[in-house]
Every structure is written in structure tokens, then in C-alpha cells.
Symmetry: C2
Subunit: 338 residues, 2 copies
């Protein structure tokens, strides 16, 4: 039997904000299964801000995609046929896989998910890369202490929602920055953030200052740009600033100019550190164990923004930069088999 799959490829490198014309669709025949390989039916495709960096050819923390290549990212899939001793038909797996409806993958690039432990989509969010990113950036770099003030930007995103909740578990006062009333309400009412501020408000800086009336001890930075400038003006002596993302900048075409912040770090003996989750590759199990425990104990809750349809993947990806999502943004491509 020959199988046809639909792929989404990088048509050209986006200039500034990506557009749908930067992607193209292609039909391909799938190859026969070699030993150790499986045929996968794609269930969920994750869209993540870091993927924008890979679409440019400038240096980033991961290899750029090649033009003409299938876009790759985190994907949850179901085994439809198997030539592997480890994986059975019906097994649910996760891997760094192409945006395509069906695919052939080696058992070595897949990790099996236990669907009874938690909903499988949590592997893309709270129990996956975003959750682990939140965990290490906050606890290893931010090191919040009871009673300190932790500010998180991009607070309603897949990473930010977990950062704020872990900071609460650590006993910190948590201030979330996001861009819509709906997000602020969610953070305040469902995740129990102490203070929330809309960066689109005209008096954002004043609101932020008021929310951080004891200054800022930890700033978990997901966004960069002017939002971060405003937070950095409020840091306390000994502040720690994990730099996790700079989503405000990913689509800039000009150099990102602003106040240099070395003086702020200097007069406050403050620390700023960039990181990527793979820096902590050797310690993932530790994070996953804690996150799963908190989830089970009801100390960690999550929301997902899921849209349906393989052809909607680029829309979801573009939506990240428009702030469309609360919590983890993903695309449902197919349902699990009964």
C-alpha cells in the first residue's frame, strides 16, 4: 500500500511578521517502513514562538530551517502501522517531527506517552517543553524566595502561566503582564496571580509600578522590548532576570534599540541570564516529576488554545504573535482512533 501525506514547507524566509505565503503545501508519497520504523498519524501539532527564529538564517539557539524543507516542531501522533518491536499500533508518541498529516519515523526519535497519566496534550504544554522551560528558568536562574516579587511577561502563554504558578508555590508575590482583559481575568481569577497588568494600557508603566510596590526581585522575561525596559527600571538590589524569550522582537526588521540596561544591573548587583531548555537536558526528569506532582495535587492548572485542521497550522503559528492564545497553542489534526 502506498500512502500519501500532506506537508507544510518553508516557501521562503519571512521578512518581519510571517505571512501565509511564506509556507507552501505539498503532497508526497510515504516510503515503505524499514526495520524500527513506524507509520504515524499526526494528532496534535505544537506552534511555539521559538520557531520564528528558525525561519530566519541568522544565528539563533537552534539550527535554521532550510528553505523548501518541511517545518519541524513538537508533534503528538498515533502509531498506525509498525515495523518496530517497541511500538504497537495505537500507541501515542511525541517527537520533533514534520508538519505533515502522516509520516514515517524511526522509533529512536519518538517517546511513548502514557495516555492514562494525564491528557496527551499536556505533553506539549505543562508537562512538556513549555512547562520544563518555565521550571528551570524560574527555579534555577530566578530562584524566587518567599515574599519576593516575581514579574512574568507573556504571562498568559504556555510558559508564563506555569512560571506564575510555580512562583506562587514558592511563596512569591506574582505580577503577570499580558495583553487582553480576558487574559488578565484568567490569570487573576483562575491562576491566583496577585497582580495583573495590561501592557497595552496607556498608563502601563504607572500600573506596573503600583503593582510592584516593593520593587521586582525576579523578572521572567518572555517578551523583551519596551515591556522589559519598564520592568527593569523597577528591579531591586540582587534581582535575577531569566531571559526566556523575546517575542516582541522576533519579527523586527530593524535593530532593536532601547535603553542599555547594564547600568541597572550594575547599581543593583543584578543578574540576567539567557537560557534554552536544552541547557537543562540532563535534568528534565526532575522537572517533569515536580510538574506532574503539582498537576495531580491541583497546584498547577492549565488551559489550552486548540484549533482544528491541518491547514490551520500556519494561522495558529501567526496567531502566537498576535497574542491569540491563552496557555498552550496547538492544532488538532486528527482524532485518536477509538
Amino acid at each position: 500500500m502506498t500512502m500519501t501525506t500532506t506537508q507544510i514547507r518553508l516557501a521562503q524566509r519571512p521578512k518581519g511578521m510571517p505571512e501565509k505565503t511564506d509556507f507552501n503545501w505539498k503532497e508526497e508519497q510515504l516510503k515503505q517502513l524499514d526495520s524500527g520504523e513506524v507509520l504515524l498519524k499526526t494528532l496534535y501539532v505544537s506552534v511555539d514562538p521559538y520557531m520564528r527564529g528558525r525561519m530566519s538564517d541568522s544565528k539563533s539557539y537552534v539550527e535554521p530551517y532550510k528553505v523548501g524543507e518541511v517545518i519541524k516542531g513538537s508533534v503528538i501522533a498515533e502509531v498506525a502501522e509498525t515495523n518496530s518491536l517497541d511500538l504497537q499500533v495505537g500507541d501515542i508518541v511525541i517527537g520533533n517531527l514534520g508538519w505533515q498529516t502522516y509520516l514515517v519515523a524511526s522509533e529512536n526519535e519518538l517517546r511513548k506517552i502514557d495516555p492514562n497519566q494525564a491528557p496527551i496534550t499536556t505533553q506539549l504544554g505543562v508537562l512538556g517543553m513549555p512547562g520544563i522551560t518555565a521550571y528551570f528558568g524560574l527555579l534555577d536562574i530566578g530562584k524566587p524566595v518567599e515574599g519576593e516579587t516575581v514579574v512574568v511577561s507573556g504571562a498568559a502563554g504556555a510558559v508564563g502561566t506555569v512560571v506564575g504558578q510555580i512562583a506562587k508555590i514558592a511563596g512569591a508575590k506574582v505580577v503577570g503582564i499580558a495583553g487582553s482583559d480576558e487574559k488578565l481575568t484568567y490569570l487573576k481569577n483562575e491562576l491566583n496571580f496577585d497582580e495583573v497588568v495590561n501592557y497595552k494600557s496607556e498608563d502601563f508603566k504607572d500600573q506596573l509600578k503600583q503593582a510592584c510596590n516593593d520593587g521586582v526581585d525576579v523578572y521572567y522575561d518572555n517578551v523583551g522590548g519596551e515591556v522589559s525596559d519598564a520592568v527593569l527600571r523597577l528591579i531591586n538590589k540582587g534581582a535575577r532576570i531569566p531571559v526566556c524569550g523575546q517575542i516582541a522582537l522576533y519579527n523586527l526588521e530593524k535593530p532593536d534599540l532601547g535603553p542599555r540596561m547594564q547600568s541597572q544591573l550594575l547599581i543593583n548587583s543584578a543578574l540576567m541570564k539567557g537560557f534554552i531548555v536544552s541547557d537543562y537536558g540532563a535534568h528534565f526528569e526532575e522537572a517533569i516529576k515536580d510538574l506532574a506532582k503539582w498537576l495531580q495535587d491541583g497546584k498547577l492548572s492549565y488551559r489550552e488554545t486548540i484549533i482544528e485542521g491541518f491547514d490551520k497550522i500556519p494561522d495558529a503559528f501567526l496567531g502566537l504573535f498576535k497574542g491569540e492564545n491563552i496557555g498552550k497553542y496547538m492544532v488538532k489534526v486528527a482524532s485518536q482512533s477509538e
Copy 2:
């Protein structure tokens, strides 16, 4: 006996680059010695870049001077009269003291210097605050490893000269940035820096890139501004950036705008940390012990720029910002008694 002393006070807060009119001279009668107090004859007055910050009323890492107040800084003096059981006439002491020819001080604010261990002026430089600052910034934050590339700006100054030499002791390749041929020659020929670059060169960025052909693992930042922008473009994965000073900015009247560097930190998982030597107050002895040992073993050498005359103190202070000094800059006010 009543004694008269001459003081230098802050006449007004400098706007931009300080001028001599920002200081004024005043004659004062010294008070009688209380119990535990001594009369001091000032020998050497230290001028240091951080003092510029104290002349403004904006937040800095130390309290601002008050307008009309005597300027205070590191001073080496000789005990001329004593009402202290611990200090004898002729003893040499160091303290954070006023810019004045004679002064009355309490034994509690003084530390006795052993003039037989090393020349007393080293207490203002290589064995004093600048040496200790170099030591902790480089070893605690920079953590250079054998074979790595360490870049230091303000390389010919009191701190920079020590940073480069400790980095050599650690087995690193050392690249020094300074502003005159005389300084570069000194760094290269006498301190054995591997590479030296003049930031005033037209092709500074190209020269720097060539000097750092394996990238930059540690950047010890004394200057800030465009020099630092250029170094930060060259950092390697896992780079460490101790921020010790920002002398290029201390006299700026406008906000310091430039490329925001969070993205550089992010894609390189790099760490930037501001600090002040007092952060390490509990560990000074450890630094002094190592520095004295290296000095004795000939692994650490130093140079001093000394001008004579109490009335030259403001000139020396202003000279810091013109790059006049190689090594520690100080003013000799009087000779030690025979």
C-alpha cells in the same frame, strides 16, 4: 593647639562631565581629639570612577554626596597625634575619609597598614579596592577556564590591569581594550596580554573581531556603551559578563540608548551580572591573600599614576574620564615623616 585644614567640597552637582567649578575649597579648624580619635596627615588620596555616581543625586550603588559636603573616598594617612590606644604617632592608616589635608578620625573607621609588606600605595590599587574588585568580578562571575578568551575593557586602569593578569594566571587568552598606544604597549609588553585593541581606531570592530578569533567567553565590562556593544556581538555560547563599571556613561546627560542585548544573551545562554565590591565584603581576606601572594611571586605587576599636590585632586578626578591614567590614579598630598 588648634589646627587648620583645607577641604574640598562638592559645590554643586556636575552636569555631564564634571568641571573644577563643581568643587570648592574651604579652610576649617579641626576639633580637639576625643578618646579613640587621632589627628591624621593625608598622604595619598585615591580618585575612582565610581565617585562620579555619588556626585549625582540619582540612585547609584552608594549614597550620593550632599552638596556642600566634603568629598569622601579612599585615603592613606599618617597618624600625627593620637588619643587612641591602638594607633601610635607615625602609624600609616587607610580609610574612607574626606578630601582634606589634615583630619580627625576615630580609630574605628581606620585600618592600619603594614608599610613593610608592600608599598603603602598598593592599598589603593592592586591590594586595595580595585584589586579586590578585579578578583571577585573575574573569578566569581567570569569564572575563566584555561584556553578561554577573556576580554577586558578599561584594560589599562586600576581594575582592568589586575583583571587581565588574573585571567592570564587562570590560563585564559586575554584581550585588552584601551584608548592609547602607550596603554596598549604597556598591556602587551609588560603585562603580557595576548591581544590589545584601541577602541578609538576607525576599524575597532574589525580589529576586535580578529583579536577574538575564537569568540568571547568572558567579557569584564568596565566601560559600557558602544565598546561593550561590539564585544557582546562576539560572545560564545555560555559566556559570562561581569559588569563592573560603565565609565563611558557616567557623564552622559541623555539616556543611554543602544541595541538591547537580551537577544544576544538568549541565543548564547549567556550570563550578565552587575556587582559592587562590597557584595563580597565577607570574603575580602581571601582575595587579599591571593593578590599579595601573586604580587610577591611576580605574577602580578602594577603601575601607578601619581600627581602631586592637594589642589590637584579635582584635576586627577577629571583625568579619569579623559583616560589619563595607566593603573591606579592617585594624588600625593604629603610625604611620610622620616
